[in-house]
Symmetry: C2
Subunit: 274 residues, 2 copies
Amino acid sequence: MQTNERDKAIGVFDSGIGGLTVVREIMRNIPNERIIYFGDTARLPYGSKSKDTVIGFSRQIVRFLQEQDVKAIVIACNTASAFALDTLQEEIDIPIIGVVKPGAKVACEATRNGRIGVIATKGTIGSGLYGNLIRRTLPNAKVFGQPCPLFVPLVEEGWRKDPITREVAQRYLVDLKENDIDTLILGCTHYPLLRSLVGELMGPQVTLVNPAYETALQLRNLLQEQGIASQEKPEGETPYKFFVSDAVESFKDFANSILPIDIARAQKVDIESY
Amino acid sequence: MQTNERDKAIGVFDSGIGGLTVVREIMRNIPNERIIYFGDTARLPYGSKSKDTVIGFSRQIVRFLQEQDVKAIVIACNTASAFALDTLQEEIDIPIIGVVKPGAKVACEATRNGRIGVIATKGTIGSGLYGNLIRRTLPNAKVFGQPCPLFVPLVEEGWRKDPITREVAQRYLVDLKENDIDTLILGCTHYPLLRSLVGELMGPQVTLVNPAYETALQLRNLLQEQGIASQEKPEGETPYKFFVSDAVESFKDFANSILPIDIARAQKVDIESY
């Protein structure tokens, strides 16, 4: 029995749990699609690691997702998108997209003064990819990058609304404010969880861009263009499957706090064997 | 040509760079010994990961170190010591020690009121190992554990002397202060780098225990007891070799900031193949 291409799932992966903010947007915006998610919780985070290492990890995950027979892949991690998308695109023959290009595209549409900020991991900022993509569309744009390595541990500590997190955010954002940006890309999948704090500190004149949302829209367009969009709501068993490389329980707790559905189970995969 | 057992190196490993505080103590206290260090920088941190995963990673590293023909192994990581030491001890036939037992032993000797605090990763605190070991010696001791997940990212951000780090530390230490401890174990290899701040906040009546130092002393005793201590300062090429699984340059920068010698090179190893 051959599965119709349209009925196959979308593969989505991230270094851990942050990519669930992308899953949330796909669920909301393309509810007909099945999703197979892989979170590399055993080896997270990616943001402080080298390009070679991130490509190697991403390649193993893509092998796993292809074994699951997905029809397209979304890299729901800014660092992996920045480091590995081009390489992976050459290596596989199904569509694969990242979160960086959709984020850059919308920032170009949103800016009025051509001054765009990016907050992200050290890896993503160091890659310079957001700036390069933005300047392809807006050659005179000024792009200001700011790594925020404490944001992820602060979110995972549960201190999203804490005065300490506010102080850290003020420290990280001060240069961006001084540089008079009018658009700020939340360039790490955890950062939409700090959206209200960042928005308050930057002020109403700054448009915040959430690449997770933009990526879901780009995925929808891509599936339609290629004629592989699912035509109806999947029936039967749950259309969403979750795999991790470590610590299934803590993953489930976090997932259930941010997804519109409750995850009944996540399966552990030995990703190093791929 | 067979190498004499005494002339072989000590293998030391950690999830990343924190274990260099143990290397520093071995260099200072047993200067005759050669050291082969492995830092698992591609998969760090271990502190938030599960027991199974940490055992799996540690087993791969031990295989690598045995291939380097070391005469003994030091697990210079509290989380890996807590989760993997017992398992690894059964699997290999050279001596292997961790940092937790030496730290617990000295805390028992130091306390006067039997109230001992432990600050460490979630994994180490969750294992309960410090408490179990302490109560084997002092059955009536009260042990208070406090995970401090932001300490490592704050140290790695370079904010050791920052007011934000002081505020975070005050938050983490408040319960320990209220519980009237007189001894505090710095149960993660990064934490000795925050020693002066923690000491100041806890006050002079609290003895701080640095397991790195105690581990170097236990290693010295073990080598002497087993008759495998090096008898003279190693000659020829550098007696210290450093291996990592990722990002060699940033490792070298950090290593050179805390070790008494400058590292000329660190070699990258594909640890997943072990």
